[in-house]
Symmetry: C2
Subunit: 411 residues, 2 copies
């Protein structure tokens, strides 16, 4: 017992419904570990270490771990803090490693996206510099699915399931009227179109919506868009368009920005990509048109999480502990897909410094020639990730999620 060390875990970046499952996996991994004694949870990402705000998660019960897997967003809170380079602010690093020493920390687990992997890479490099034996492990998450060196990211499968389900339900909503209509659904993804592509899973034999899909990876042409609609309207009558918030024209300008409407105070306001296309269709075709922005619900709707995603996210967390126990540091836990049908994968580790600050766009062979749909390869890639439903505890008709008073009282 005396030569055992403790560890600390934190969450960072934007919410997903799977990031708490990875936290649950880390806690579970530590509970089963012979290397680590206590597990602390840092509040609001790495900032919680700097501020000495953390809670002890060591005695988490099985019930708590199960509820954690079914609770959206970050149980430990988040931050948008990017650790400054060592040369600019050596005192931040000294401070962090000072707290690590105080708490007898042997491993630090950072669950997050691009920026969090940057922080993990910097901490690992610093540890090497000073000859510290503390293991630094990154655990990925992002609904955008844009991290490199992993087949996909935790949180993406659930967001994909929510987007595809919503598109299917919106399509049923539009199909009931006997009038021509265009229904534009704006989906998150500033730079990568993975989540918008997932809308393609919504299609059924009788309701093949979305009829058009536009990703940021292909330059968006307004005239071609109107032509695409003119071609499909006589056939399908109620057209559903899935569009990424991040689509840009050939000069790289965001649609939302070019169509910015001025608010009453005279400020330029982003009208939103969906709204911009709605106005365009109204102007050019003069038919019934609506735009829907799915907004934050795609990243926080735990009631519709993908079981595959939640289970994988848990495993990635517990494998993080396993890798640290086995001497790995400066790594990110990652998924290596072995086959899509049947779905098989292995959990590996990759150098976190190679992941940080890079983004994985949708490859062009996953997008059709006309740039308005995805290919069969994309569907095969996506399908395993949305499989399975989670069991949610309902109380008085609403999903019951974990109490967050440790966050609200910490402020």
């Amino acid at each position: 017992m005396s030569n055992m060390t403790n560890c600390i875990v934190a969450q960072s970046g934007g919410p997903t419904v799977a990031i708490n499952a990875s936290l649950a996996g880390v806690i579970d991994g530590v509970k089963k570990s012979k290397t680590y004694n206590k597990i602390y949870g840092s509040i609001h990402g790495i900032q919680g270490v700097l501020r000495r705000q953390y809670i002890d998660l060591t005695d988490s019960s099985e019930d708590f771990i199960t509820s954690l897997c079914a609770t959206p967003a970050m149980y430990l809170g988040s931050c948008r803090y990017k650790l400054p380079p060592f040369k600019e602010s050596p005192e931040s690093y000294e401070d962090i490693f000072g707290v690590f020493k105080e708490l007898s920390i042997g491993a630090f687990f950072y669950i997050g996206g691009n920026d969090s992997m940057d922080t993990a890479a910097k901490l690992a490099e610093y540890a090497k510099e000073i000859g510290s034996d503390i293991k630094i492990v990154g655990i990925p998450k992002t609904i955008d699915n844009d991290l490199i060196m992993t087949d996909h990211t935790p949180g993406f499968g659930s967001a994909a399931k929510y987007v595809a389900t919503s598109i299917r339900e919106i399509a049923y909503d539009t199909y009931i009227y006997d009038v021509l209509s265009v229904n534009i659904v704006e989906i998150m993804g500033r730079d990568a179109g993975w989540l918008t592509a997932a809308s393609a899973l919504a299609r059924t034999e009788s309701v093949p919506a979305p009829h058009l899909i536009y990703l940021p990876e292909v330059a968006f042409d307004k005239e071609q868009f109107i032509e695409d609609l003119k071609k499909l309207l006589p056939i399908h009558r109620n057209i559903v368009v899935a569009v990424s918030e991040g689509i840009k024209d050939k000069d790289g300008n965001y649609l939302s920005a070019t169509d910015a409407a001025a608010d009453k105070f005279g400020h330029a306001q982003l009208s939103g990509t969906g709204k911009a296309l709605e106005y365009l269709v109204k102007e050019k075709l003069g038919i019934k048109v609506r735009s829907v922005e799915i907004n934050v619900l795609q990243r926080c709707a735990s009631h519709l999480a993908s079981k595959t995603d939640i289970e994988e996210s848990f495993k990635l967390g517990s494998h993080g502990v396993y890798f640290a126990e086995n001497g790995k540091s400066g790594i990110m836990v990652a998924v290596n897909r072995l086959s899509s049908s049947p779905y098989k994968y292995e959990i590996v580790n990759v150098p976190v410094c190679e992941v940080a600050n890079k983004a994985k766009a949708v490859p062009l062979d996953y997008i059709n020639k006309d740039g308005n749909d995805v290919t069969q390869e994309m569907l095969e890639y996506l399908r395993p990730l949305v499989q399975g439903e989670v069991s949610i505890h309902y109380d008085n008709g609403l999903p019951e999620y974990l109490n967050l008073s440790h966050l609200t009282h910490m402020e």
Copy 2:
């Protein structure tokens, strides 16, 4: 068998996730009836009768009826057609009753909202005029819950459950950051605030969101809104505001209209109530602010339907058949609540002409004195309506809904 007649059912107005359960109830009622032989489904509301577009639903299987209860929007399609007054267009009435005669119709069931009840009332009056024995029965539905003479409307409970769940999930999304923020959620309801009020069910001990609720029944005051925020921000830090799309100032002007932004073509565009408040907060408080419009998903998300709502909607449909069999015409089927805890109700019938074209606002004793929250009475009224979860069949990770090819091929 020879003196048995047939009947016909249609759906009209905006979608809900419960309107197909009422259709299922009508079909089930007819299958068990000794009065009615065949049951036809008119496509696109009463227009299907005028156009002679209908399908035969008599041989619906139990499986089909179960799937119908779990499929959003209108299986038979909808219309926004309001039957002109008899004096203006007697030929429409003659035409409809001509088709009724051709098909040996003994009863017509119209599932819809305000406008549909107007059509039902007119048809019942015409039947009386011409001495026809055809029974005309209205079956209510609307997510707005604004029909009079019924405790509540089918579709409302499910929409309320969706709204409250979404607000809870959005609140979890906002609570993770250690910065002051205002999060405005715009909920449907142009004239009545029932659905926005349902957001109050989202509150938990540690996450008491929504912190502020604004309904169209109370004049909205922008300055008071900013004062309300200033008071709550130091206490709760991440404020969630539930606001009805239909809030108006003391002069009766919609917020959305007064804050209309001009689009790039120079047209006045409704910026949306949520957006209008977002800009207002940004201007007056300069803190992080976001607005989310829940949009059509609150009326089509079958995967999150209220079991209580779906079961009641079914019963209202089958009771419609029962009332018609027992000689009732010119009626609407309605819910009379007997008690809230335990929840008990009876199904009654009310004169449809008294329901048509009227709207039920939220009573003022369901709204707090400051006009920014609901009272305990409202919570007691709402709670029973969102209870219970439906069982949805998932195929390949997505909810599977009924095939709509009969609609798409009918066009």
